[in-house]
């Protein structure tokens, strides 16, 4: 009985679902506050993303005449659910290990592409020309950053697999256990290029400046999100909050999952997420301008891809 409840609870309450949502919204609040402080202003309250969600729940959802209604309203739901599931797949070192039946790193990789696909579908289903531009930009970005991500994950998986005497290991708990006995990959020179590629990947995946090209509000008026209002837009906000938790959690699991056991492990995990969010997201987004889509595309196919390949080659040859 308890066993059969374990998986749904992991998806709905902890560490996916409600817990990840609260964590993601808090991270967004911290990010907005720090960005405001860096620009010399007071900034919104820390709970601002929660207020925004409550507000959106109270507004009316409008569906444009030109939109395909079932797809238009279904897309954000699929995105939010996929991210809640993905959040249940990310282990918290020393505190939570996902059920291997739920899936491993490969499932997580597939789930991570869902938000981008959902945004593309939403943009094209909305029937708006700005949505269509957002669609094409989102697709270009996805093609650009997915390659490096897969290679980064492959490099880490291969390092673990070779270290264990096998070839590759796509199990996150094994990757974490290996790092806990052999030291974190953060301090492994073979994986430094992969780490650099990952640091370039996650701003693109989270859609923040300098890579917020598909949703650039001053150019394409938030692109795929242009026609959304009310609860449907709220679901997209939920999706992006959960995505922040998943992507940052994946980064912690891949490169620095050293943590004590028990509740202290959870606390250490939270501290790492907050540090990664503030340093890697807030500081980056207030200190950069937005790139053009062709610049971003070329950047990803040049540097992160080359670094990820280099890292993979180093791991394979060493």
């Amino acid at each position: 009985m308890i066993e059969s409840l374990y998986t749904p609870l992991a998806m709905l309450i902890f560490p996916g679902g409600l817990f990840a949502l609260a964590l993601g919204l808090s991270l967004k609040g911290l990010d907005r506050r720090l960005a405001a402080r860096l620009q010399g202003r007071v900034g919104p309250p820390l709970a601002q993303p929660f207020y925004d969600l409550v507000k959106l729940a109270k507004k009316r959802t409008m569906v444009p005449d030109t939109a395909c209604q079932p797809v238009f309203l279904g897309a954000p739901l699929i995105g939010a659910v996929a991210m809640a599931l993905a959040a249940a797949l990310v282990p918290i070192a020393g505190f939570y290990t996902p059920d291997p039946l739920l899936g491993d790193l490969l499932v997580l990789l597939y789930l991570l592409t869902v938000p981008a696909v959902v945004l593309m579908i939403a943009g094209s289903a909305s029937g708006s020309p700005f949505g269509a531009i957002g669609f094409s930009r989102e697709m270009a970005m996805m093609l650009a950053y997915e390659g490096p991500l897969v290679l980064v994950v492959a490099a880490v998986a291969m390092r673990t697999g070779l270290g264990q005497g096998g070839l590759v290991s796509f199990s996150l708990p094994e990757i974490i256990a290996y790092q806990q006995t052999h030291g974190a990959f953060l301090f492994d020179p073979l994986l430094w290029p992969a780490l650099a590629a990952f640091l370039a990947f996650y701003p693109a995946n989270l859609g923040i400046i300098p890579f917020d090209i598909p949703e650039a509000e001053t150019e394409v008026l938030e692109g795929p999100l242009l026609e959304y209002s009310g609860p449907a837009l709220g679901l997209f906000k939920i999706m992006s909050a959960l995505k922040a938790v998943v992507v940052l959690g994946l980064g912690v699991a891949l490169f620095y999952p050293i943590a004590p056991d028990g509740i202290a492990g959870l606390a250490v995990h939270l501290v790492k997420l907050i540090a990664l969010m503030l340093i890697g997201v807030s500081v980056v987004r207030v200190s950069c301008g937005r790139l053009r889509i062709d610049q971003a595309f070329r950047f990803f196919l040049k540097w992160p891809l080359a670094l990820a390949v280099l890292s993979l080659a180093c791991v394979a040859l060493a």
């Binding site: 929660f50 925004d52 409550v54 938030e222």
Partner: protein, 150 residues
């Protein structure tokens, strides 16, 4: 049970009123008020983000609509259409003297001011152009009206 429900609804209304998103419509303005809105009142210096305000690119995300300009005949239909795209509940704020009376353009054949003939205007912020402090005060009043409508 009813008191719990009531408490929930007042709490959610209070929280929702802390997140007013702003959308600007230029109804044939000379751009003076737009400069005051976009680059003076709502930028880091005065920081309306601490009221929870956010500029949004799409009318569908907006709660508070700022309209500048005397509503020229040429843009009237577009303005009314964009205004209809803003989902309820919403609050309309007329920024500058032009939407209120037509200002220095009031005698023109091409100007349809006052704006309140066509749209329900909730807050007027007079001035040519209004001071940033006045715009922020107008937005604060609009938030108070919006809280009642939620």
């Amino acid at each position: 049970m009813t008191s719990l429900k009531q408490m929930f609804s007042t709490q959610t209304r209070r929280m929702a009123s802390l997140s007013p998103w702003i959308y600007r419509i230029n109804a044939g303005s000379c751009n003076g008020c737009d400069v005051e809105c976009a680059t003076t009142a709502l930028i880091p210096r005065y920081d309306v983000e601490r009221l929870g305000c956010q500029y949004c690119g799409s009318p569908r995300h907006a709660d508070i609509v700022l309209i500048t300009g005397p509503l020229t005949a040429r843009v009237k239909d577009s303005v009314l259409r964009v205004y209809d795209e803003v989902p309820e509940p919403k609050v309309t704020v007329a920024v500058g003297v032009c939407p209120i009376s037509g200002g220095i353009f009031r005698d023109s054949y091409a100007v349809l001011a006052p704006l309140s003939k066509y749209l329900p205007v909730d807050v007027n912020i007079p001035g040519c152009a209004p001071r940033p402090q006045a715009i922020i005060e107008g937005i604060a009043q609009a938030i108070a009206i919006w809280r009642e409508r939620l």
